[in-house]
Symmetry: C2
Subunit: 321 residues, 2 copies
DNA sequence: TTGAAAGCGCTACCAC
DNA sequence: GTGGTAGCGCTTTCAA
């Protein structure tokens, strides 16, 4: 590369990085650029960050379960916003790694920031990451972790909204679907807890209803429905709501007359069901906001960790409740 | 690190990598491991791959639109399988980069392999990646790219199956939904083409039906339905099928009597609709297979690019067609 | 069995 | 303006 352009490696570096502290003559610049194009030269990120002592890589774990349109959108926005701030977002496929195992795997890449959705990060993991040079560690989850910034996605609020809504509508024996699928506990547990909190001190009862995302499981639950004596159900989200509502209807139960149903996530599909599905609309933080938090934290790593509540939950009342 | 253990950096490297060519005494090993734990030592991936001249990183672009459960599952399997083979899967969030722009951004990370779903890779991009040390470039998309391995996901087959099925069932005026959302053309175009191919040489007609994923758009299309004079529709996938089917039913049209509807992807939701939605079940390659292809290509980079057809499409006939 | 040292590609400092 | 060069953290060869 330097040879082809007939200049030194240093000059190449200056030209390609537009180093402002050094002025390079136009002809030389051109020669360098031409040589770079001709050779298909691509800088070596590893060497660069080794030398610089830091990178502009923001690392997140790749989600290990299907994510809905809500989260996809959020992720897209976030990548876009961080991209504008000149960070590179990288999702690390760390299947099967947990706790500080995972943290170490991520630390090997020496990211400048780590974004951790869910609740898979322990304080030890944060320490590992920080010690390895991460200037910002941000969790997006149910609770804050010592030493890390936290965007509290308080799924209790989702359950609370649903519970309060059902109670307002006069329901008193309330079921709450708890998915049996792995990886969903960190959402389903707080949602259940939120319903409990909403109904605490009232005469209403709350019943947890384990349900797998399969017709058979739903049919089984529906068959026991009359015996359970429930008059309302918060179905975890719109998809489980559809599954359960269908099973209830097949069982001859009327929605909402016999049983009110409410979902969550405000998916398109809820609007298409009959009766139209009531739901809890969830508002995620904007990607831009989070990107700014990351950038702030990176520029000022000494600052105390910020903790924000960022999950808006509002009931969208339609026909099923 | 080396200082704390009282040994040389080399010894540390031997111990932590279990280098078999060198035998280190037990006491020394212990001392090194203890020091590593105490310091929270994490190796520096960049330095390692810089020295080694290659990495074990398999890079994919992060999907830029919501992906369904099918693809999520596939991705998870793939990460698992590659993890077992000791590769690290990394999804690069390269929003807004195209063609060889994107390829250069990926090449900076010097991945040992690149997996590119969709059709966003040009031959030039392949060259860039290979020149920068990628030993395997694999596309998963509608067509092969010069110089890269290809897993042909022939979405024409999906459309073909749907078209043939509708024709068999006696339908002759067939609509095909084409989503208006960005990023879906690379799937929708071949699916439409497949329907055309299935009906080529018959007396059936094929009509492309642009549709946005919104109730209003569907209602508009449904309002024009009788004028269009169609007796069947392949709705791109199950979600668009649900949207359109609901709009048709609201318009007073009977499914399947007046209009047959078939979707694709075999989602749970199709089974829950009434009438139950016919669909094209799509079989993606197993993650394990793809992982093995990658590994083979990495070990033997000289070999000629392989091209496999890997997308199985089979009609699941339910009640809507 | 262990240590010394070279060098991967890059940038930043200093000398010319 | 440009080139020489040290050194980021690591592995690996060679020597002790």
């Amino acid at each position: 590369m330097a040879r082809l352009a007939g200049v030194s490696r240093a000059t190449v570096s200056y030209v390609l990085n537009n180093t402002s502290a050094v002025r390079i003559s136009e002809p030389t610049r051109r020669r360098v650029h031409e040589a770079a194009k001709e050779l298909g030269y691509v800088p070596h990120a590893a060497a660069r960050s080794l030398r610089a002592g830091h990178s502009r890589m923001v690392l997140m774990p790749a989600p290990s379960f299907p994510v809905g349109p809500l989260y996809s959108q959020f992720l897209g926005d976030l990548q876009m916003a961080l991209g504008r701030l000149d960070y590179t977002v990288v999702q690390h496929g760390s299947v099967g790694l947990h706790g500080d195992e995972a943290a170490r795997a991520w630390a090997e890449l020496r990211p400048v920031a780590v974004l951790m959705p869910g609740s898979g990060l322990c304080p030890k993991g944060v320490t590992v990451l920080k010690r390895s040079g991460a200037r910002a560690v941000v969790t997006l989850g149910p609770e804050a972790v010592e030493g890390a910034h936290a965007l509290l996605m308080d799924h209790e609020a989702v359950g609370y909204s649903a519970g309060a809504h059902l109670h307002e509508r006069g329901r008193r024996r309330i079921g709450v679907v708890v998915p049996e699928e792995d990886g969903l506990e960190s959402f389903s547990a707080p949602r259940l807890e939120g319903v409990r909190r909403a109904l605490h001190g009232t005469d209403a009862t709350v019943t947890a209803l384990p349900l797998a995302y399969e017709e058979k499981s739903a049919a089984g639950l529906a068959a026991r429905w009359r015996a359970l004596g429930l008059d309302a159900v918060f179905a975890y989200n719109d998809e489980y709501a559809m599954l359960l509502m269908r099973a209830l209807q097949d069982e001859g139960l009327r929605v909402p007359t016999d049983t009110a149903v409410i979902g969550a996530d405000d998916l398109m599909l809820g609007r298409l069901l009959r009766p139209r599905l009531s739901t809890v609309h969830i508002e995620l933080p904007s990607g831009r906001e989070l990107a700014e938090l990351v950038d702030r934290a990176v520029r000022n790593p000494g600052a105390a960790p910020e903790t924000h509540k960022v999950l808006g939950a509002s009931v969208v009342h339609r026909e099923s409740s």
